[in-house]
Symmetry: C2
Subunit: 157 residues, 2 copies
């Protein structure tokens, strides 16, 4: 058990430092709930909604409230530790941002499977669009939708 906790702490070190720096710079305080939310978020290696994150947080510390999870995930976003995108079906979803290179998403409209990809040609073409209209780039959201190989197979069967 202690080993696991130690391993977690090792993995967390940088992210924790990023959060602490952000808090210090904004006269905010490090608290137990905020650490719990950060740890839980970092332990989930996929896209999560605030609700899903709350469930996970609640499992390891039932005293943490929903509101705090919503507040903290926004904080993580501002601190550069999380990235968010609005999901077409309602709830906003979040993913890791620190030490996770920019990527776009390819989602199966049938089963929801998500492929994360990065494509140089797309990025370069986007840069040229920015230049064409004289805009200064500050980010973008690209989601490709389609039918994944296994759902295509099922549909043919």
């Amino acid at each position: 058990m202690i080993l696991i906790i130690n391993m977690k702490n090792m993995d967390l070190r940088d992210e924790l430092a990023v959060l602490e720096d952000y808090l210090r710079d904004h006269d905010l305080k490090m608290t137990k709930p905020r650490q719990t939310v950060l740890e839980t978020f970092l332990a989930i290696e996929k896209h999560v909604t605030a609700e899903e994150l709350y469930n996970a947080v609640h499992a390891s510390d039932p005293s943490v409230g929903q509101a705090t999870v919503f507040r903290t995930i926004r904080l993580l976003e501002e601190a550069g530790l999380a990235r968010s995108a609005c999901r077409d079906d309602g709830a906003r979803s979040y993913e890791h941002a620190y030490r996770h290179a920019h990527h776009d998403h390819l989602r199966c409209v049938e089963c929801g499977a998500i492929v994360e990809f990065s494509d140089g040609a797309i990025e370069r073409a986007q840069a040229s669009v920015y230049r064409r209209f004289g805009y200064e780039p500050s980010g973008h959201h690209l989601e490709l939708e389609g039918l994944c190989p296994s759902c295509r197979a099922k549909k043919r069967a």
Copy 2:
């Protein structure tokens, strides 16, 4: 006044036919509120939310209720007359889809100005991503964010 109404009717002819065909094929009925919502939607040449559309509809016919506007804009989407995308700040927004070629959006994060563009290189690169992962394309959403020329100038001043 009559002239304007006639002009509107001319512009509407095709779109109205598209909706009528869709309604007939689905055993649905053409009604006054549905026509009003369609006319109003087509008269607005920019992205609108259901709420904004309701306000415009209400101006020309106060008897039409909000629920009907929500229902009808979804209907227009299904009929291929409207396209929607979820806006980062909350409400879903809609734009014309009939006889409006696919395009992507470049939005100023400062003033909200939107440039609609279409870029062959981006579309081709996306097609190659679909092939790479064996997905069958069914659509995509791309929004570039940045600072428009005039906001860049203001920022420098």
